[in-house]
């Protein structure tokens, strides 16, 4: 009797048993639940309470923290929506450039030009830097009074642009630094995409007399659609998560105009210790990003057949 049940128990965990594959998933599962699933639900719970950092507890407050975000008489309302608008501005400025420049570089560096390996490495290299290094480099370069960029511009007769302290230059500075820093990722992805397009398609088109612009417009671009879909969505999400560049380059200034929503949420949580409203802002923003991504997916998805 005992022997038989032990055998079944053993079988359960044997290589053919139903549990066996899941054993391999346990290490990942532990981290997945501890660092992703649990925080998501804990955060949601915190957003429904008036959480006190110092006692690490809170009483249930219903949707009060969310209502605060819709009540114009609160400071949270003023600051949150301003910060969300700032982030949206950055998404609108940066995403087209981040994809456009990456695409341009990818097309150039898949052509038959000498030394393209060197250039690929050079353009990709900044992605290895941390945001603090990137911010320090660009703060120096863009210093209004003694920066290298303004020095070069003065040779061309353009005087004293206040890059980091006035608009629209502050946004331009952050966008330039971001493009310089991250465009290499998108470039590599698009290079792989272009290399994956069958050469016969180009040959056939060339025989039909297609110009290089036509090749790009009617062959490369449509064939890149799956890669573009991925690049588009990840770039939008990355731009939504803007944090370190304004924190270190402009400090959110001038007058909060480059203070992105993520930095504001961080300040609400760790500067003002209001975890309830901070998490409510985080979930409202996440919902917003979800909607944007869903819309994007609807317009950009669709399979491609060679």
């Amino acid at each position: 009797m005992q022997g038989r049940s032990r055998r079944t128990f053993g079988q359960l965990f044997s290589e053919e048993g139903p549990i066996y594959p899941y054993l391999y998933l346990i290490p990942h599962g532990v981290f997945f639940f501890a660092f992703i699933v649990y925080p998501i639900f804990k955060g949601l719970y915190v957003s429904l309470t008036d959480w006190d950092m110092f006692t690490n507890s809170g009483t249930f407050a219903g949707l009060r923290n969310y209502k605060v975000l819709l009540d114009p008489s609160t400071v949270q309302y003023v600051y949150y929506w301003q910060a969300l608008r700032n982030t949206l501005t950055f998404v609108l400025i940066s995403v087209p450039v981040l994809i456009g420049v990456a695409l341009g570089l990818a097309v150039l560096l898949t052509g038959k030009m000498p030394g393209r390996g060197v250039f690929r490495t050079v353009f990709f290299m900044p992605t290895a830097l941390t945001v603090s290094v990137v911010a320090v480099i660009w703060r120096w370069l863009l210093n209004a009074n003694h920066g290298y960029v303004n020095y070069l511009l003065s040779k061309l007769g353009v005087e004293g642009i206040a890059w980091l302290t006035s608009q629209p230059w502050a946004w331009a500075s952050i966008a330039i630094a971001t493009v310089w820093w991250t465009v290499g990722w998108n470039m590599i992805l698009l290079i792989n995409g272009i290399n994956g397009i069958p050469e016969e398609l180009y040959e056939a088109s060339r025989i039909d007399g297609a110009t290089s612009w036509q090749l790009f417009r009617y062959m490369t671009l449509p064939c890149l659609r799956p890669v573009m879909f991925y690049v588009g969505i990840t770039t939008v999400i990355a731009s939504f998560n803007l944090f370190g560049q304004p924190q270190l380059m402009t400090g959110g200034g001038p007058t909060r105009s480059t203070l992105p929503v993520m930095l504001h949420i961080y300040g609400e949580a760790w500067g003002n210790y209001r975890m309830g409203t901070a998490t409510a802002m985080a979930y409202a923003t996440a919902l917003f990003m979800l909607v944007v991504t869903a819309i994007q997916a609807r317009f950009m998805s669709g399979s491609i057949e060679y």
């Binding site: 006190d52 110092f54 210093n143 009074n145 302290t165 006035s166 400090g251 001038p254 007058t255």
Partner: protein, 421 residues
């Protein structure tokens, strides 16, 4: 048989341990957290080492240094998880936040025991360690805003390098004389002064605002009172220096005034006392350091910050550790001369007014401001409630809004912050 043997050995061990602890007072180890990541960290470590040496076998202090930002985050987590340091340094304007969260130990009884007396300290930094009738912090230092002036440029402009500006008129006259085009290309390349967009321009405004007799918030801290003649005049003055008198350039990026002064291209700059050693280490920079001019009309005043000792609450109170911690705080205060020379005004008057500090050509001059350092009474939302003023100053200094509009908008935001629960 074997189990009985191990039982006997175990009992003997326990007995020996009991004897050894009963015989001697156990040495106390204190965890000490600070945010001194600069050269000030090395100075403090030296003091801690000396303290440990003098108290060998009795008290050992282990200092941990972390950047201020993460310090204020970590200390919350540490208190919650029962791993709070025994003693820590906080900025005076953050103390009330933590006291109101119930994470700091009230110190009134301990102070009496140790014979610490408020009259031994700079009055302003001592009296602001009290929140809602209880003392939560003991001052280490005060760090006021200081005027630095380039003596070489003074001489070149025909000014007396030993008589820096003291009021509004002399400030404008001197900065005008210092503002010039030295290369003859029609562009001004040497400025009288520089008012930055951002840090630390709030300190300038604050100094002038209090000189004008202003008060930031009402007595119950429920309403802002800075959108007043005193506040407006203060803001207008800095805007006028840039656009009307043209003694400061526009759009001064944070820290570029500091760099320009080090390069010797700036006549007068205002920054914390903590910048002094940086300027002293700059070769070929002949400069003076002293009190901020009295730009205002009512009283002498200057902005300052202050590092204060606090004792975070422990999950289980340990009287031996607490009294060791207060002993440590007292000892550091008595030995804060070197700390002061690192770029601070020692809060302890016996050190501050002692010959060694007072006769230093730089510190002695700066220390004159000691009697009129002004702190608002601490309350938990102070930092958040002055936030809109920083934005208002930047908007006005950039010319993005008029001083009136900027200050009115800020006051509205501050009121919203103060009205919230």
């Amino acid at each position: 048989m074997r189990s009985r043997l191990s039982l006997i050995i175990g009992l003997v061990l326990v007995f020996v341990l009991l004897l050894s602890t009963a015989g001697y007072a156990a040495p106390v180890t204190l965890d000490y957290w600070t945010g001194f990541t600069g050269p000030d960290g090395a100075t403090m470590q030296k003091l801690v080492d000396q303290f440990n040496q003098e108290h060998e076998g009795k008290i050992t202090v282990n200092m941990s240094i972390m950047p201020w930002d993460s310090f204020y985050e970590k200390i919350v987590a540490a208190v919650i998880s029962g791993k709070a340091p025994d003693v820590a340094i906080m900025h005076l304007d953050r103390m009330a936040e933590f006291a109101s969260g119930g994470v700091l130990l009230p110190l009134d009884d301990l102070i009496g025991e140790l014979g610490l007396d408020g009259s031994d300290y700079i009055e302003a930094v001592w009296s602001c360690g009290v929140w809602q009738g209880k003392r939560y912090s003991i001052p280490l230092d005060a760090h006021p805003t200081v005027m630095y002036w380039n003596k070489t440029l003074f001489e070149e402009a025909g000014l007396d390098p030993e008589s820096p500006p003291t009021d509004r008129e002399s400030f404008l006259a001197i900065t005008k004389a210092l503002t010039k085009d030295t290369t003859g290309d029609g562009k001004i390349d040497q400025w009288g002064t520089m008012f930055s967009v951002g840090w630390p321009n709030f300190h300038y405004w604050y100094s002038l605002f209090y000189q004008n007799g202003g008060v930031l918030f009402d007595e119950t801290n429920t309403k802002s009172t800075y959108n007043s003649d005193a506040g407006l005049d203060a803001l207008q003055f800095f805007v006028d220096c840039i656009y009307e008198h043209k003694v400061s350039p526009q759009n001064v990026q944070v820290d570029s005034e500091h760099e320009a002064f080090k390069r010797g291209e700036l006549g007068i700059t205002f920054n914390g006392i903590w910048m002094l050693s940086d300027y002293r280490n700059q070769p070929n920079l002949e400069f003076g350091a002293g009190p901020v001019p009295q730009w205002g009309s009512e009283r002498q005043a200057v902005w300052a910050g202050s590092h204060q000792f606090v004792l975070p609450k422990q999950r289980s109170a340990d009287a031996a550790k607490t009294s060791a911690a207060v002993n440590f705080v007292k000892w550091i205060g008595d030995h804060s001369l070197e700390w002061g020379f690192g770029g601070q005004l020692p809060a302890k008057l016996s050190v501050l007014r002692g010959d060694e500090f007072g006769q230093d050509p730089y510190f002695g001059n700066i220390a004159k401001m000691e009697t009129y350092i002004y702190f608002p009474p601490p309350f938990p939302k102070y930092g958040e409630a002055v936030g809109p003023i920083w934005d208002a100053i930047n908007a006005a200094v950039l010319g993005a809004s008029s001083p009136q509009d900027a200050l009115a908008r800020a006051a509205d935001l501050s009121d919203k912050i103060l009205a919230a629960k």
